[in-house]
Amino acid sequence: MKKLINDPANVVPDALRGIAAAHPELRVDHENRLIIRGDAPVRGKVGLVSGGGSGHEPLHGGFVGPGMLDAACAGEVFTSPVPDQMLAATKAVDGGAGVLHIVKNYTGDVMNFEMAAELAEAETGVQVVSVVTDDDVAVQDSLYTAGRRGVGVTVLVEKIAGAGADQGRSLSEVADLAKKVNDNGRSMGLALTSCTVPAAGKPTFDLPDDQMEIGIGIHGEPGRRRVPLAPASEVAEMLVSPILADLDFTGGDGVIAFVNSMGATPLIELYVMYNEIAAILAKAGVTVARSLVGPYITSLDMAGCSVTLLKVDDELLRLWDAPVNTAGLRWGA
């Protein structure tokens, strides 16, 4: 395992200390492993809390700041945070208008956030609403399973719900907005290499030199199938086709096209992919209104990428364009 770390057991607290040192505008609660806006709680504003296992940086801590999250809970690498953390975060950001929990759909995350919401309402009376993201078309959905994973759309939910909260919308309105983004977003990812969990010390899965995994998540979970390496043009098809098959993205005000690095894939490759994806979308009659290209929701040192499409209307576009000022996403501010 080649990583720039100290003791694998301390990766998360060490990184949190680095974040605190690099971003004086943020407040880091090392005891509870929280990253909080320096000016929290913002009076009268709905508070936005998210969180999850670490290893997906900049998600979520990098999205804390004006226009996006109020706090993020950092779990162990790839392990949902515990209810105590979410409870502390909820208390820290409650400005009197209630708190929205943005939860990626993983059994652990859902259960821990659920316990936290129960505790928050019981212990503090803070009103908590949870929105679960589940945009990964690689996972066959069904009533009897854990359902789809929450992946790329989570970034877009945090941005757009954050903008809605900034406008002074109510808790239920912000929750509806978050749900609307989730409902209109779909993602699909692929891995060229496995990631290595620091505590495990070796790659989560073996992937031969001439193969890639299609339909991976962001936790080094193996994907749905293994296929031979292919040129970017074919890879783009493998990612975009299932997305377009799952939801009609034509018409309206177009889409936000988000091409994401899994961590070890550099920007030059993402742009090669973006070119292919844009061509497929054009052919399918899908208009790209905005784009986002870069490492925003990663899986440690995994090479690969994911594509997220979000169908937007005028409202979502305006909220997307609204100022945001975080370490990981910043414009208009």
Partner: protein, 208 residues
Amino acid sequence: MNAAVLTAWLTEFARLVSSHRDLLTELDSAIGDADHGSNLDRGMTAVLATLEKESPPTPAAVLKRTGMTLVSTVGGASGPLYGTAFLRMATAAGDDDTLDGPGFAKALRAALDGVVARGKAVAGDKTMYDALAPAVDALDAALADGQPFDEAIDAALRAAEQGREATTPMVARKGRASYLGERSAGHQDPGATSVTFLIAAAAATLSG
């Protein structure tokens, strides 16, 4: 079984988890995210520290501190599941200074109910349920059959082991392994494996 005996049980469980930490993580690598071993090991290490520091006086107190500590330190799916299981056990154990065999069996059934309430798993979903449920059923059946606790808990362990083995061919429908669909078949479930250690630890340390 008093607080000390239950603490011995948990100490043995912690030892088994710690010594099989890599196995659990390995199993979780195949169909999950390679952290079940470190998750549970972190949690049970914290539990032992808490129990040592606080020496809770009653079985219920031991079980409650265990559940709360697991909830607060494990995270992931297994944190709330194991945590809820122990918290429900604590409630079922009542305020007595000791638990007898049937009392323990009742508490273990409450643990199972807690896992179901939290995780909504049913038989065949390829989760810890598939080892825990047969164990609880076997324990109840053996005790109802008039067997002594030592034999009943051994029967529970055999049932857990069989349940654990039975997870291998299953196609997962809950937890992270469900994302793999058909590809999850052929791998033993990590949670079913760790919960079998819990029963093995009981068989090694508890007697009615």
